[in-house]
Amino acid sequence: MLSNLATAYHFAVFEIHARFKRSVLGTLWYALSTLAIILGLGPLYASIFGHSLDEYFGYLAFGLVFWNFFQGVISESTAVYQSNQTYIKDMVIHPIVFNVALIIKHSFIWFQNLVVVYGLLLLLGFGLAEPSLWFFVYMAPVIMVVFFGSVASSLISLRFRDFANIINLVVQIFFFLTPILWKTRPDILGLSVIKYNPVFYLVSLPRNLLLGEAVNLWVIAISWPVGLGCVWASFWVVRKYRKELVFWL
Protein backbone atom coordinates (compact mmCIF):
# COMPACT_ATOMS: atom_id res chain seq x y z
CA MET A 1 0.00 0.00 0.00
CA LEU A 2 2.70 2.46 1.05
CA SER A 3 4.97 1.51 -1.85
CA ASN A 4 2.04 2.07 -4.25
CA LEU A 5 1.53 5.50 -2.69
CA ALA A 6 5.23 6.30 -3.18
CA THR A 7 5.03 5.13 -6.81
CA ALA A 8 1.98 7.36 -7.36
CA TYR A 9 3.89 10.29 -5.88
CA HIS A 10 6.83 9.67 -8.25
CA PHE A 11 4.45 9.56 -11.24
CA ALA A 12 2.80 12.81 -10.18
CA VAL A 13 6.13 14.62 -9.69
CA PHE A 14 7.54 13.22 -12.96
CA GLU A 15 4.52 14.38 -14.93
CA ILE A 16 4.59 17.90 -13.49
CA HIS A 17 8.35 18.05 -14.09
CA ALA A 18 7.99 16.77 -17.67
CA ARG A 19 5.19 19.18 -18.51
CA PHE A 20 6.94 22.30 -17.24
CA LYS A 21 10.50 21.32 -17.96
CA ARG A 22 11.14 24.11 -20.42
CA SER A 23 9.17 26.73 -18.53
CA VAL A 24 10.76 29.32 -16.23
CA LEU A 25 7.59 29.86 -14.19
CA GLY A 26 6.77 26.16 -13.99
CA THR A 27 3.54 25.28 -12.23
CA LEU A 28 2.94 28.94 -11.42
CA TRP A 29 1.38 29.11 -14.90
CA TYR A 30 -1.66 27.34 -13.46
CA ALA A 31 -2.00 29.95 -10.72
CA LEU A 32 -1.46 32.82 -13.15
CA SER A 33 -4.14 31.57 -15.53
CA THR A 34 -6.58 31.16 -12.62
CA LEU A 35 -5.76 34.68 -11.43
CA ALA A 36 -6.29 36.08 -14.94
CA ILE A 37 -9.73 34.46 -15.16
CA ILE A 38 -10.75 35.65 -11.70
CA LEU A 39 -9.55 39.22 -12.25
CA GLY A 40 -11.16 39.30 -15.69
CA LEU A 41 -14.50 37.72 -14.82
CA GLY A 42 -14.95 38.90 -11.23
CA PRO A 43 -15.90 42.57 -11.76
CA LEU A 44 -17.87 41.77 -14.96
CA TYR A 45 -20.02 38.98 -13.51
CA ALA A 46 -20.51 40.87 -10.23
CA SER A 47 -22.11 43.71 -12.18
CA ILE A 48 -24.10 41.35 -14.47
CA PHE A 49 -25.58 39.43 -11.53
CA GLY A 50 -25.99 42.59 -9.42
CA HIS A 51 -23.72 41.51 -6.55
CA SER A 52 -21.31 43.73 -4.70
CA LEU A 53 -17.68 42.90 -5.48
CA ASP A 54 -17.05 42.33 -1.75
CA GLU A 55 -19.46 39.43 -1.52
CA TYR A 56 -18.92 38.01 -5.03
CA PHE A 57 -15.16 38.10 -5.65
CA GLY A 58 -14.10 35.53 -3.03
CA TYR A 59 -17.13 33.36 -3.87
CA LEU A 60 -16.14 33.21 -7.54
CA ALA A 61 -12.40 32.85 -6.87
CA PHE A 62 -12.65 29.92 -4.46
CA GLY A 63 -15.45 28.34 -6.50
CA LEU A 64 -13.23 28.35 -9.60
CA VAL A 65 -10.23 26.97 -7.69
CA PHE A 66 -12.26 23.99 -6.43
CA TRP A 67 -14.00 23.52 -9.76
CA ASN A 68 -10.65 23.42 -11.58
CA PHE A 69 -9.52 20.63 -9.25
CA PHE A 70 -12.67 18.62 -9.81
CA GLN A 71 -12.78 19.18 -13.56
CA GLY A 72 -9.04 18.54 -14.04
CA VAL A 73 -9.16 15.19 -12.25
CA ILE A 74 -12.32 13.91 -13.95
CA SER A 75 -11.31 15.02 -17.45
CA GLU A 76 -7.80 13.57 -17.25
CA SER A 77 -9.12 10.35 -15.72
CA THR A 78 -10.81 9.41 -18.99
CA ALA A 79 -7.43 8.79 -20.64
CA VAL A 80 -5.22 7.95 -17.69
CA TYR A 81 -5.24 4.16 -18.11
CA GLN A 82 -4.66 4.31 -21.87
CA SER A 83 -1.79 6.76 -21.54
CA ASN A 84 -0.14 4.59 -18.87
CA GLN A 85 -0.93 1.25 -20.44
CA THR A 86 2.71 0.21 -20.80
CA TYR A 87 3.17 0.60 -17.05
CA ILE A 88 -0.04 -1.32 -16.31
CA LYS A 89 0.65 -4.09 -18.81
CA ASP A 90 4.44 -4.39 -18.90
CA MET A 91 5.48 -3.32 -15.42
CA VAL A 92 2.25 -4.63 -13.82
CA ILE A 93 1.74 -1.45 -11.80
CA HIS A 94 -1.68 -1.41 -10.13
CA PRO A 95 -4.04 0.80 -12.21
CA ILE A 96 -5.29 2.68 -9.16
CA VAL A 97 -1.77 4.08 -8.72
CA PHE A 98 -2.49 6.33 -11.71
CA ASN A 99 -5.70 7.66 -10.19
CA VAL A 100 -3.82 8.42 -6.97
CA ALA A 101 -1.09 10.10 -9.03
CA LEU A 102 -3.75 12.28 -10.71
CA ILE A 103 -5.17 13.26 -7.33
CA ILE A 104 -1.70 14.10 -6.00
CA LYS A 105 -0.87 16.17 -9.08
CA HIS A 106 -4.12 18.10 -9.06
CA SER A 107 -4.04 18.53 -5.27
CA PHE A 108 -0.65 20.17 -5.64
CA ILE A 109 -1.94 22.49 -8.38
CA TRP A 110 -5.12 23.18 -6.42
CA PHE A 111 -3.23 24.00 -3.23
CA GLN A 112 -0.87 26.32 -5.08
CA ASN A 113 -3.84 28.07 -6.74
CA LEU A 114 -5.57 28.34 -3.39
CA VAL A 115 -2.57 29.96 -1.69
CA VAL A 116 -2.12 32.44 -4.56
CA VAL A 117 -5.84 33.32 -4.69
CA TYR A 118 -6.07 33.59 -0.90
CA GLY A 119 -3.04 35.90 -0.90
CA LEU A 120 -4.54 38.05 -3.66
CA LEU A 121 -7.87 38.39 -1.86
CA LEU A 122 -6.11 39.35 1.38
CA LEU A 123 -4.02 41.86 -0.55
CA LEU A 124 -7.15 43.40 -2.07
CA GLY A 125 -8.68 43.67 1.40
CA PHE A 126 -11.50 41.15 1.13
CA GLY A 127 -12.78 39.65 4.39
CA LEU A 128 -11.78 35.99 4.66
CA ALA A 129 -11.75 33.36 7.37
CA GLU A 130 -8.48 32.75 9.19
CA PRO A 131 -6.60 29.74 7.76
CA SER A 132 -7.57 26.78 9.90
CA LEU A 133 -6.97 23.03 10.01
CA TRP A 134 -10.73 22.55 9.84
CA PHE A 135 -10.42 23.35 6.17
CA PHE A 136 -8.48 20.13 5.57
CA VAL A 137 -11.03 18.19 7.63
CA TYR A 138 -13.64 19.53 5.17
CA MET A 139 -11.50 19.02 2.09
CA ALA A 140 -10.35 15.42 2.72
CA PRO A 141 -13.76 13.77 2.07
CA VAL A 142 -14.16 15.97 -1.02
CA ILE A 143 -10.88 14.55 -2.36
CA MET A 144 -12.04 11.01 -1.53
CA VAL A 145 -15.28 11.50 -3.49
CA VAL A 146 -13.38 12.98 -6.46
CA PHE A 147 -11.03 9.97 -6.27
CA PHE A 148 -14.00 7.65 -6.73
CA GLY A 149 -15.19 9.80 -9.63
CA SER A 150 -11.73 9.46 -11.15
CA VAL A 151 -11.64 5.65 -10.84
CA ALA A 152 -15.17 5.26 -12.23
CA SER A 153 -14.43 7.64 -15.09
CA SER A 154 -11.16 5.82 -15.96
CA LEU A 155 -12.75 2.38 -15.96
CA ILE A 156 -15.87 3.30 -17.94
CA SER A 157 -13.79 5.23 -20.52
CA LEU A 158 -11.60 2.19 -21.00
CA ARG A 159 -14.54 -0.13 -21.60
CA PHE A 160 -16.63 2.31 -23.65
CA ARG A 161 -14.60 4.38 -26.08
CA ASP A 162 -17.21 7.13 -26.42
CA PHE A 163 -17.46 7.79 -22.68
CA ALA A 164 -14.71 10.46 -22.71
CA ASN A 165 -16.80 12.65 -25.04
CA ILE A 166 -19.90 12.10 -22.92
CA ILE A 167 -18.16 12.93 -19.64
CA ASN A 168 -16.56 16.08 -21.08
CA LEU A 169 -20.02 17.25 -22.14
CA VAL A 170 -21.49 16.38 -18.73
CA VAL A 171 -18.68 18.23 -16.94
CA GLN A 172 -19.38 21.35 -19.04
CA ILE A 173 -23.08 21.16 -18.23
CA PHE A 174 -22.33 20.77 -14.51
CA PHE A 175 -20.14 23.87 -14.62
CA PHE A 176 -23.17 25.96 -15.56
CA LEU A 177 -25.62 24.06 -13.33
CA THR A 178 -23.42 24.43 -10.25
CA PRO A 179 -23.28 27.70 -8.31
CA ILE A 180 -19.76 28.74 -9.30
CA LEU A 181 -20.38 31.77 -11.52
CA TRP A 182 -23.81 32.39 -9.99
CA LYS A 183 -24.76 32.54 -6.33
CA THR A 184 -27.47 30.62 -4.54
CA ARG A 185 -30.24 32.33 -2.61
CA PRO A 186 -32.24 30.76 0.24
CA ASP A 187 -35.36 30.63 -1.96
CA ILE A 188 -33.71 28.52 -4.71
CA LEU A 189 -31.74 26.13 -2.47
CA GLY A 190 -34.61 23.63 -2.67
CA LEU A 191 -34.40 23.33 -6.47
CA SER A 192 -33.52 19.80 -7.63
CA VAL A 193 -30.67 21.10 -9.77
CA ILE A 194 -28.97 22.30 -6.58
CA LYS A 195 -30.31 19.85 -4.02
CA TYR A 196 -29.32 16.73 -5.98
CA ASN A 197 -26.18 18.13 -7.58
CA PRO A 198 -23.15 16.36 -6.02
CA VAL A 199 -20.72 18.93 -7.46
CA PHE A 200 -22.55 21.65 -5.52
CA TYR A 201 -21.54 19.99 -2.25
CA LEU A 202 -17.99 19.26 -3.45
CA VAL A 203 -17.43 22.92 -4.31
CA SER A 204 -19.44 24.67 -1.63
CA LEU A 205 -18.28 22.79 1.49
CA PRO A 206 -14.65 24.01 1.50
CA ARG A 207 -15.55 27.31 -0.18
CA ASN A 208 -18.06 28.34 2.46
CA LEU A 209 -15.60 27.55 5.23
CA LEU A 210 -12.97 29.79 3.61
CA LEU A 211 -15.55 32.54 3.25
CA GLY A 212 -16.17 32.52 6.99
CA GLU A 213 -18.93 29.96 7.57
CA ALA A 214 -18.74 28.35 11.03
CA VAL A 215 -17.53 24.74 11.28
CA ASN A 216 -20.51 22.40 11.06
CA LEU A 217 -19.95 19.08 12.81
CA TRP A 218 -22.94 17.55 10.98
CA VAL A 219 -21.19 18.18 7.67
CA ILE A 220 -18.12 16.35 8.96
CA ALA A 221 -20.20 13.53 10.45
CA ILE A 222 -21.89 12.94 7.08
CA SER A 223 -19.11 13.71 4.61
CA TRP A 224 -16.39 11.56 6.18
CA PRO A 225 -18.26 8.22 6.04
CA VAL A 226 -19.35 9.11 2.49
CA GLY A 227 -15.72 9.87 1.55
CA LEU A 228 -14.36 6.70 3.13
CA GLY A 229 -17.13 4.69 1.46
CA CYS A 230 -16.06 6.16 -1.88
CA VAL A 231 -12.43 5.11 -1.31
CA TRP A 232 -13.55 1.60 -0.41
CA ALA A 233 -15.81 1.49 -3.49
CA SER A 234 -12.90 2.63 -5.69
CA PHE A 235 -10.68 -0.24 -4.58
CA TRP A 236 -13.58 -2.69 -4.80
CA VAL A 237 -14.51 -1.75 -8.36
CA VAL A 238 -10.91 -1.89 -9.63
CA ARG A 239 -10.41 -5.25 -7.93
CA LYS A 240 -13.59 -6.53 -9.54
CA TYR A 241 -12.55 -5.48 -13.05
CA ARG A 242 -8.75 -5.87 -12.75
CA LYS A 243 -8.70 -9.09 -14.76
CA GLU A 244 -10.77 -7.66 -17.64
CA LEU A 245 -9.17 -4.23 -17.51
CA VAL A 246 -5.97 -5.35 -19.18
CA PHE A 247 -7.96 -6.69 -22.17
CA TRP A 248 -9.64 -3.29 -22.58
CA LEU A 249 -6.29 -1.51 -22.97
Binding site: F14, Y87, D90, M91, V92, I166, F247
Partner: protein
Amino acid sequence: MALIQLRDICLDFPVYGFRTDSLKLAVLNKISTWTTRRPWFPSDGIKIVRALQNISFELNDGDRLGVVGSNGSGKTTLLYMLNRSFVPSSGSLIVDGSVGSMLNLNCGIDPNMTGRENIRFRLKISRITRKHWAAIEEDVVEFADLGHFIDMPLRIYSSGMMARLLFAMATAIRRDILLMDEWLSVGDADFSRKASARIDGYAKESSILVLASHDTGMVSRVCNKCLRLDQGNQIMFGETEDVLR
Protein backbone atom coordinates in the same frame (compact mmCIF):
# COMPACT_ATOMS: atom_id res chain seq x y z
CA MET B 1 14.82 -20.47 -5.92
CA ALA B 2 12.61 -19.53 -8.84
CA LEU B 3 9.94 -21.64 -10.45
CA ILE B 4 7.58 -21.36 -13.40
CA GLN B 5 4.95 -24.06 -13.64
CA LEU B 6 2.07 -24.17 -16.11
CA ARG B 7 -0.55 -26.92 -16.14
CA ASP B 8 -3.13 -26.95 -18.98
CA ILE B 9 -3.17 -23.18 -19.25
CA CYS B 10 -5.77 -21.60 -21.53
CA LEU B 11 -6.20 -17.90 -22.16
CA ASP B 12 -9.33 -16.41 -23.74
CA PHE B 13 -9.20 -12.90 -25.14
CA PRO B 14 -12.44 -10.93 -25.37
CA VAL B 15 -12.59 -8.90 -28.58
CA TYR B 16 -15.20 -6.17 -28.44
CA GLY B 17 -17.16 -5.30 -31.56
CA PHE B 18 -17.70 -1.68 -32.63
CA ARG B 19 -21.22 -1.57 -31.22
CA THR B 20 -20.33 -3.16 -27.90
CA ASP B 21 -17.66 -0.49 -27.42
CA SER B 22 -20.18 2.36 -27.37
CA LEU B 23 -21.94 3.47 -24.20
CA LYS B 24 -24.41 5.55 -26.23
CA LEU B 25 -25.54 2.51 -28.23
CA ALA B 26 -25.69 0.37 -25.08
CA VAL B 27 -28.01 2.92 -23.40
CA LEU B 28 -30.13 3.33 -26.55
CA ASN B 29 -30.49 -0.46 -26.80
CA LYS B 30 -31.60 -0.67 -23.16
CA ILE B 31 -34.22 2.02 -23.75
CA SER B 32 -35.42 0.51 -27.03
CA THR B 33 -35.64 -2.99 -25.56
CA TRP B 34 -37.65 -1.59 -22.68
CA THR B 35 -40.03 0.42 -24.86
CA THR B 36 -40.31 -1.54 -28.14
CA ARG B 37 -39.09 -4.97 -26.91
CA ARG B 38 -36.24 -5.05 -29.43
CA PRO B 39 -32.85 -3.30 -29.63
CA TRP B 40 -32.60 -0.62 -32.31
CA PHE B 41 -28.88 -1.24 -32.76
CA PRO B 42 -28.31 -5.00 -32.34
CA SER B 43 -24.97 -5.62 -30.67
CA ASP B 44 -22.21 -7.20 -32.71
CA GLY B 45 -21.24 -9.02 -29.51
CA ILE B 46 -18.04 -9.88 -27.77
CA LYS B 47 -15.98 -12.46 -29.63
CA ILE B 48 -13.79 -14.74 -27.57
CA VAL B 49 -10.45 -15.61 -29.13
CA ARG B 50 -8.52 -18.47 -27.56
CA ALA B 51 -4.97 -17.09 -27.51
CA LEU B 52 -3.36 -19.99 -25.66
CA GLN B 53 -4.57 -23.55 -25.30
CA ASN B 54 -3.40 -26.35 -23.00
CA ILE B 55 0.08 -25.05 -22.35
CA SER B 56 2.03 -27.13 -19.83
CA PHE B 57 5.68 -26.93 -18.88
CA GLU B 58 7.92 -26.37 -15.89
CA LEU B 59 11.10 -24.30 -15.56
CA ASN B 60 13.49 -24.34 -12.63
CA ASP B 61 16.64 -22.46 -11.59
CA GLY B 62 19.12 -22.07 -14.42
CA ASP B 63 16.66 -22.87 -17.21
CA ARG B 64 16.66 -20.69 -20.31
CA LEU B 65 13.58 -21.22 -22.41
CA GLY B 66 13.31 -20.17 -26.04
CA VAL B 67 9.75 -19.73 -27.32
CA VAL B 68 9.49 -20.09 -31.09
CA GLY B 69 6.62 -20.01 -33.55
CA SER B 70 5.24 -17.99 -36.44
CA ASN B 71 3.56 -14.59 -36.05
CA GLY B 72 0.34 -14.85 -34.03
CA SER B 73 1.33 -18.16 -32.46
CA GLY B 74 1.00 -16.75 -28.93
CA LYS B 75 4.66 -16.12 -27.98
CA THR B 76 4.19 -12.58 -26.69
CA THR B 77 0.86 -13.45 -25.06
CA LEU B 78 2.60 -16.24 -23.16
CA LEU B 79 5.28 -13.81 -21.97
CA TYR B 80 2.61 -11.34 -20.80
CA MET B 81 0.94 -14.14 -18.88
CA LEU B 82 4.22 -15.11 -17.19
CA ASN B 83 4.61 -11.39 -16.43
CA ARG B 84 1.28 -11.66 -14.53
CA SER B 85 -0.31 -9.09 -16.86
CA PHE B 86 -2.91 -11.61 -18.07
CA VAL B 87 -4.72 -13.99 -15.76
CA PRO B 88 -5.28 -17.44 -17.34
CA SER B 89 -8.88 -18.39 -18.11
CA SER B 90 -8.25 -21.94 -16.91
CA GLY B 91 -5.44 -24.17 -15.72
CA SER B 92 -2.85 -23.61 -13.05
CA LEU B 93 -0.03 -21.04 -13.25
CA ILE B 94 2.74 -20.71 -10.68
CA VAL B 95 5.34 -17.97 -11.14
CA ASP B 96 7.54 -17.98 -8.07
CA GLY B 97 10.16 -15.21 -7.97
CA SER B 98 10.53 -11.57 -8.96
CA VAL B 99 9.92 -10.96 -12.66
CA GLY B 100 11.72 -8.51 -14.93
CA SER B 101 10.32 -8.00 -18.40
CA MET B 102 11.64 -6.58 -21.62
CA LEU B 103 8.50 -6.85 -23.69
CA ASN B 104 7.99 -3.35 -24.98
CA LEU B 105 10.67 -1.06 -26.34
CA ASN B 106 8.81 2.08 -25.28
CA CYS B 107 7.85 1.02 -21.79
CA GLY B 108 8.20 3.70 -19.14
CA ILE B 109 10.01 6.45 -20.98
CA ASP B 110 9.26 10.10 -21.58
CA PRO B 111 10.77 11.43 -24.82
CA ASN B 112 11.04 14.96 -23.43
CA MET B 113 13.19 13.93 -20.49
CA THR B 114 16.90 13.13 -20.75
CA GLY B 115 18.28 9.62 -20.70
CA ARG B 116 19.56 10.12 -17.15
CA GLU B 117 16.21 11.49 -15.93
CA ASN B 118 14.45 8.48 -17.43
CA ILE B 119 16.88 6.11 -15.70
CA ARG B 120 16.25 7.81 -12.34
CA PHE B 121 12.49 7.72 -12.83
CA ARG B 122 12.58 4.03 -13.73
CA LEU B 123 14.55 3.33 -10.55
CA LYS B 124 12.02 5.21 -8.44
CA ILE B 125 9.02 3.31 -9.78
CA SER B 126 10.79 -0.06 -9.78
CA ARG B 127 10.83 -0.10 -5.98
CA ILE B 128 14.58 -0.47 -5.76
CA THR B 129 16.09 0.54 -2.42
CA ARG B 130 17.49 4.05 -2.60
CA LYS B 131 21.00 2.96 -1.60
CA HIS B 132 21.32 0.99 -4.89
CA TRP B 133 20.22 3.84 -7.16
CA ALA B 134 23.63 5.42 -7.77
CA ALA B 135 25.33 2.11 -8.62
CA ILE B 136 22.55 1.05 -11.02
CA GLU B 137 22.51 4.45 -12.70
CA GLU B 138 26.27 4.28 -13.22
CA ASP B 139 25.97 0.76 -14.62
CA VAL B 140 23.27 1.81 -17.11
CA VAL B 141 25.18 4.90 -18.25
CA GLU B 142 28.37 2.91 -18.70
CA PHE B 143 26.73 0.04 -20.56
CA ALA B 144 24.54 2.18 -22.85
CA ASP B 145 27.70 4.12 -23.76
CA LEU B 146 25.82 7.09 -25.16
CA GLY B 147 28.44 9.71 -24.19
CA HIS B 148 27.04 13.21 -23.74
CA PHE B 149 23.70 12.12 -25.25
CA ILE B 150 22.78 10.61 -21.89
CA ASP B 151 21.98 14.16 -20.70
CA MET B 152 19.91 15.01 -23.77
CA PRO B 153 16.18 14.43 -24.35
CA LEU B 154 15.22 11.02 -25.67
CA ARG B 155 13.29 12.53 -28.58
CA ILE B 156 16.58 13.25 -30.40
CA TYR B 157 17.87 9.67 -29.99
CA SER B 158 18.02 7.34 -32.97
CA SER B 159 16.13 4.05 -32.59
CA GLY B 160 19.45 2.25 -32.02
CA MET B 161 20.46 4.65 -29.23
CA MET B 162 17.04 4.34 -27.66
CA ALA B 163 17.28 0.55 -27.77
CA ARG B 164 20.73 0.63 -26.13
CA LEU B 165 19.49 2.75 -23.27
CA LEU B 166 16.33 0.74 -22.74
CA PHE B 167 18.22 -2.54 -22.91
CA ALA B 168 20.73 -1.26 -20.36
CA MET B 169 17.89 -0.07 -18.08
CA ALA B 170 15.98 -3.34 -18.32
CA THR B 171 19.00 -5.52 -17.60
CA ALA B 172 20.47 -3.36 -14.83
CA ILE B 173 17.80 -4.31 -12.32
CA ARG B 174 18.33 -7.95 -11.39
CA ARG B 175 15.27 -10.17 -11.06
CA ASP B 176 14.80 -13.90 -10.51
CA ILE B 177 12.99 -14.36 -13.81
CA LEU B 178 13.70 -12.41 -17.01
CA LEU B 179 11.22 -12.28 -19.91
CA MET B 180 12.45 -11.04 -23.28
CA ASP B 181 10.69 -10.53 -26.58
CA GLU B 182 13.05 -10.32 -29.57
CA TRP B 183 15.42 -8.03 -27.72
CA LEU B 184 18.84 -9.26 -28.71
CA SER B 185 18.42 -7.91 -32.22
CA VAL B 186 18.77 -4.31 -31.01
CA GLY B 187 21.56 -1.91 -31.92
CA ASP B 188 24.60 -2.40 -34.15
CA ALA B 189 26.81 -5.50 -34.38
CA ASP B 190 29.12 -4.34 -31.54
CA PHE B 191 26.23 -3.62 -29.26
CA SER B 192 24.57 -6.88 -30.19
CA ARG B 193 27.67 -8.77 -29.01
CA LYS B 194 27.80 -6.70 -25.84
CA ALA B 195 24.11 -7.31 -25.24
CA SER B 196 24.51 -11.07 -25.73
CA ALA B 197 27.35 -11.13 -23.19
CA ARG B 198 25.25 -9.11 -20.73
CA ILE B 199 22.31 -11.44 -21.18
CA ASP B 200 24.57 -14.43 -20.57
CA GLY B 201 25.71 -12.81 -17.33
CA TYR B 202 22.17 -11.88 -16.40
CA ALA B 203 20.88 -15.35 -17.13
CA LYS B 204 23.60 -16.84 -14.92
CA GLU B 205 22.55 -14.56 -12.07
CA SER B 206 18.83 -14.73 -12.77
CA SER B 207 17.34 -18.08 -12.18
CA ILE B 208 15.15 -18.33 -15.26
CA LEU B 209 15.21 -16.67 -18.68
CA VAL B 210 12.30 -16.86 -21.14
CA LEU B 211 13.07 -15.54 -24.61
CA ALA B 212 10.56 -15.33 -27.47
CA SER B 213 12.21 -15.10 -30.85
CA HIS B 214 12.06 -15.91 -34.55
CA ASP B 215 15.83 -16.27 -34.56
CA THR B 216 16.34 -20.01 -34.06
CA GLY B 217 20.12 -19.57 -34.20
CA MET B 218 20.01 -17.29 -31.20
CA VAL B 219 17.59 -19.56 -29.36
CA SER B 220 19.87 -22.56 -29.85
CA ARG B 221 22.87 -20.48 -28.68
CA VAL B 222 21.22 -19.00 -25.57
CA CYS B 223 18.57 -21.51 -24.45
CA ASN B 224 18.70 -25.02 -23.03
CA LYS B 225 14.96 -25.59 -23.39
CA CYS B 226 12.55 -24.68 -26.15
CA LEU B 227 8.80 -24.40 -26.63
CA ARG B 228 7.21 -24.37 -30.07
CA LEU B 229 3.80 -22.73 -30.40
CA ASP B 230 1.35 -22.69 -33.29
CA GLN B 231 -1.92 -20.70 -33.18
CA GLY B 232 -1.85 -20.79 -29.40
CA ASN B 233 -1.26 -24.54 -29.18
CA GLN B 234 1.78 -26.16 -27.65
CA ILE B 235 3.39 -28.19 -30.43
CA MET B 236 6.49 -29.30 -28.55
CA PHE B 237 8.42 -28.60 -25.38
CA GLY B 238 11.81 -30.08 -24.56
CA GLU B 239 15.55 -29.77 -25.11
CA THR B 240 16.38 -27.00 -27.59
CA GLU B 241 18.07 -29.21 -30.18
CA ASP B 242 15.12 -31.65 -30.16
CA VAL B 243 12.51 -28.92 -30.64
CA LEU B 244 14.42 -26.99 -33.28
CA ARG B 245 15.44 -30.11 -35.23
